[in-house]
């Protein structure tokens, strides 16, 4: 014991130990202060109803109530569609979503189709409202009425129909699940696309082209610009009426395509954020790939060309295997960055986007904790979020390890 102590803290080895501690000290201190301690505090707070405004917090009973609220999800079978679906939504039951034309008619003639006195007008409107696509929605404000009282704390997250039956996915906190799915959607698209594009760019700017440093700088410049500034600029670019992107689409297609309602439509909002994020982030991965490419010895390519390999074979059997470690690093960091998605979403769609299509987990935790001052609840969201990211990272690591075992 004494000998071990002597060896570790005294003499040459001891000096090394103290030097290491001295050099690493600030970083360890920062990790404890800003990572480990907040996380422990977060776990503690997630079992309370702590608020942001100084009112006294108490421990919840049972302690996992916040987690129950976050994680509870279920599915129910909805009743069949009635023969006549009303326009006015009942507390529980089916109703018909109004088409724009129907709304327009209603406001132009300001008649209420439910009012029998306004017969002619109502007739007109009813005809217009019958036309167009019918969208049926189910509303469940009071589940007691249809014998589902046990789910009274749940809200409808999504409506699905298959096999002639209608189902609803219900959750105590639907926005959390939407945020989680949006995060996965973003990561699943952005990670492969951004990595592939970065590799392509790196190969292009690695060629002996004239002015290649100019291109390298151009592709890299979005990375050094603050995300918030980029997001504000892109918000204007995406403007459906005056935005440059729609103007360009119209110009290129000779006015055949009107352009998209980028950030205003549920289908396009997330892709719009993805395009902008990839544009912003791709330069960083490109630089890393570039460094990896320049590490590959030239003689490998020379030898292979003597053996008669074509460019594709060189890429497939030399470049890709030699970039393996770089690739692993890029995929891991891009995945974690993708899950952290917040800045651009918060600037471009501060309310979570159309139908909450751009709400993410970090965005949601900040909305609950900061805007709505429910710190305890937001802590529970964050704890769940960290666990999920941890699981995703562990799966990735396992996959990477088993791959290297094959080689």
């Amino acid at each position: 014991m004494h000998a071990l102590f002597e060896r570790t803290f005294r003499g040459r080895q001891g000096r090394e130990f103290w030097t290491a501690m001295l050099m690493g000290g600030p970083a360890f201190l920062m990790l404890v202060l800003f990572m480990i301690w907040p996380f422990i505090r977060g776990i503690d707070l997630s079992t309370t109803n702590q608020r942001f405004d100084g009112s006294v917090a108490t421990r919840l009973d049972p302690w996992y109530r916040n987690f129950d609220q976050v994680l509870s999800v279920n599915a129910i079978k909805l009743p069949d569609l009635p023969d006549v679906v009303p326009y006015r939504a009942p507390a529980v039951g089916w109703y018909r979503e109004r088409t724009p034309a129907c709304n327009q008619c209603q406001s132009n003639f300001s008649c209420d189709i439910t009012d029998p006195d306004d017969a002619v007008c109502a007739e007109n409107c009813a005809q217009i409202c019958e036309r167009g696509d019918l969208i049926f929605r189910w509303r469940g404000r009071n589940l007691d009425e249809i014998g589902l009282g046990e789910y009274s704390e749940y809200e409808i997250a999504r409506q699905v129909s298959f096999g002639g039956n209608h189902y609803a996915i219900i959750a105590k906190d639907p926005l959390f699940w939407k945020g989680l799915l949006n995060n996965f959607y973003f990561a699943l698209v952005v990670v492969p696309v951004q990595t592939g594009l970065a590799l392509l760019l790196a190969i292009v700017v690695n060629q002996k082209l004239p002015y290649r440093n100019v291109f390298r700088t151009m592709y890299f410049s979005p990375v050094v610009t603050a995300m918030v500034i980029i997001a504000v600029v892109w918000k204007f670019l995406y403007n459906p009426d005056f935005g440059l992107i729609n103007e360009m689409i119209q110009f290129v297609t000779f006015g055949q395509v009107e352009g998209f309602r980028w950030l205003q439509s549920p289908d396009m909002a997330m892709p719009a954020i993805m395009i902008m994020s990839i544009w912003q982030g791709v330069g960083f991965q490109m630089i890393i790939f570039l460094a990896g490419l320049q590490d590959i010895p030239e003689d490998l390519y020379e030898a292979s060309s003597i053996d008669g390999a074509n460019i594709w074979q060189q890429f497939r059997f030399i470049t890709l295997p030699m970039l393996r470690n770089t690739m692993i690093f890029v995929v891991l960091t891009t995945t974690i960055l993708a899950f952290r998605l917040f800045d651009q979403v918060n600037v471009m769609t501060p309310d979570g986007g159309p139908n909450e299509s751009t709400a993410t987990m970090v965005w949601y935790a900040i909305r609950r904790g900061w805007t709505q001052s429910e710190v305890g609840y937001a802590s529970a969201i964050s704890v769940v979020f960290v666990v999920i990211v941890l699981i995703v990272s562990l799966i990735q690591r396992t996959v990477v390890k088993s791959e290297s075992a094959i080689e």
């Binding site: 405004d53 209603q106 406001s107 929605r137 404000r141 459906p240």
Partner: protein
């Protein structure tokens, strides 16, 4: 060598002592103050008032800190949790309930003299009163109605109401919008609804329209739920009408610079508060008219309440804080501020002398709305932050064309969960 060390030591000690001597110099007690960094003219006026107070006061010195407006309320809450609130706090009207509920403020009843209160606009006292005690005072109240471009209104043959008694009905409002659509130039639109704003605007501006349709943002009798009120048939009728304005292109949810659109004559009506008066007046001159809030079915309703001052429970020198608030509530101080920002002066003396608010004045409509019962305070609940978020989400969703009933149901869920979390 020794003398060098001694010299360094003395210099270090002096350096430490310096700030303290600087503070003690004029023997005044310091009073910290936070305010939201709003529009330029308002900020300048406040700076001038603080300088005046500091020059006049023998005992106290105000030390102001300017905090960005976007997340002002959140930063105040964070400071409250950290026990770091300043002495004098500036906050927007409806947050008074939240701060009183959390015990962040002290009542002003012991300080405010009856004489002072007698000159204050009743709506300001209403706003600052919670549970029978007065917690805050403001220099001005807000005015909210439609700014119109007279030349365009006349060209379209639209009747301009003279006051709150002959305001537009919903039908008239709709046909006015339709008629104006014929006169707005290419690239313009009829009605600006300030959708570039975020945060509180949506509950302040469109809450009254929901009420004017017969709905509300919360059940005002119990203050315990928004169910059946914000998602009832009246609110849905509002939402459908509101949505149609966007669908028909009369207004836009994605304006680039709506203020320039109005001042440069591309927009006929601008729905925004008193704070645009000076800008709009400079641009349009005599063509600027104020149109009272239309009656959308259940009577005309508009918003009221604005930024006001309170003393925090964290304050060591409440007397100093009150001295400043008292100074701010003097007619001369109020006049300086409202001349700069165009708001309704909270002093009856100033209001009577201000010809902009007298009959025939540019903003007579505002004082009529405030005294004629058109203006209603925002709901007195500590869950106001939930109402703010719920309304912001729902108005944006409806403007984008999402299902009205579902959007309003979601807003009700947000508000009700905020109320539930308070009750725990």
């Amino acid at each position: 060598m020794k003398s060098v060390k001694l010299f360094v030591f003395v210099v270090l000690v002096l350096a430490l002592a310096m700030p303290m001597t600087a503070l003690a110099q004029d023997g005044k007690q310091q009073v910290t103050l936070w305010f939201h960094s709003g529009q330029g003219s308002e900020r300048d006026a406040l700076g001038e008032l603080i300088d005046q107070f500091n020059a006049e006061s023998m005992e106290y010195e105000i030390v102001p800190v300017e905090v960005p407006e976007g997340s002002y309320a959140e930063q105040v809450k964070a400071a409250a949790l950290a026990g770091d609130l300043p002495c004098v706090l500036d906050f927007d009207g409806p947050f008074v309930y939240d701060y009183v509920f959390s015990g962040d403020l002290i009542p002003l009843d012991d300080y405010a003299s009856e004489e002072l209160l007698a000159d204050v606009l009743p709506s300001i006292i209403d706003q600052g009163t919670v549970d029978g005690q007065l917690w805050s005072l403001g220099q001005f109240d807000s005015g909210l109605a439609l700014w119109g471009n007279k030349a365009m209104l006349e060209e379209a043959g639209v009747r301009i109401p003279e006051g709150i008694d002959d305001t537009w009905t919903l039908d008239e409002f709709n046909s006015a919008i339709e008629a104006l659509a014929g006169v707005v130039p290419e690239g313009g639109y009829v009605l600006d609804l300030q959708f570039q704003l975020t945060g509180e605007w949506f509950s302040y501006a469109f809450g009254p329209w929901v009420q004017s349709f017969g709905g509300d943002v919360i059940d005002r009798e119990t203050m315990e739920t928004a169910e059946g009120v914000l998602n009832g048939p009246e609110a849905v009728a509002f939402g459908e009408w509101f949505q149609s304005l966007f669908e028909q292109g009369y207004t836009t949810a994605t304006p680039v610079d709506p203020i320039a659109d109005f001042t440069e004559g591309r927009v006929a009506l601008s729905y925004v508060g008193h704070w645009m008066y000076n800008t709009y007046k400079d641009a349009l001159g005599d063509d600027l008219v104020l149109i009272p809030q239309p009656d959308l079915g259940a009577g005309a309703v508009t918003g009221m309440g604005s930024w006001n001052w309170g003393i925090t429970s964290n304050c060591d020198v409440p007397e100093g804080a009150w001295a400043f608030i008292e100074f701010m509530m003097q007619p001369a101080s109020i006049k300086l501020m409202t001349d700069a920002n165009g708001a309704v002066p909270a002093s009856l003396t100033v209001l009577e002398q201000d010809e902009r608010y007298a009959e025939g004045g540019d903003m007579y409509i505002y004082s009529q709305q405030l005294s004629g019962g058109v203006a209603l305070p925002r709901p007195a609940t500590a869950a106001y932050a939930g109402i703010q978020t719920g309304m912001e989400d729902a108005m944006n969703a409806i403007a984008r064309g999402e299902d009205v009933q579902a959007s309003l149901d979601a807003a009700v869920d947000t508000i009700d969960s905020a109320i539930e979390n308070l009750a725990q």
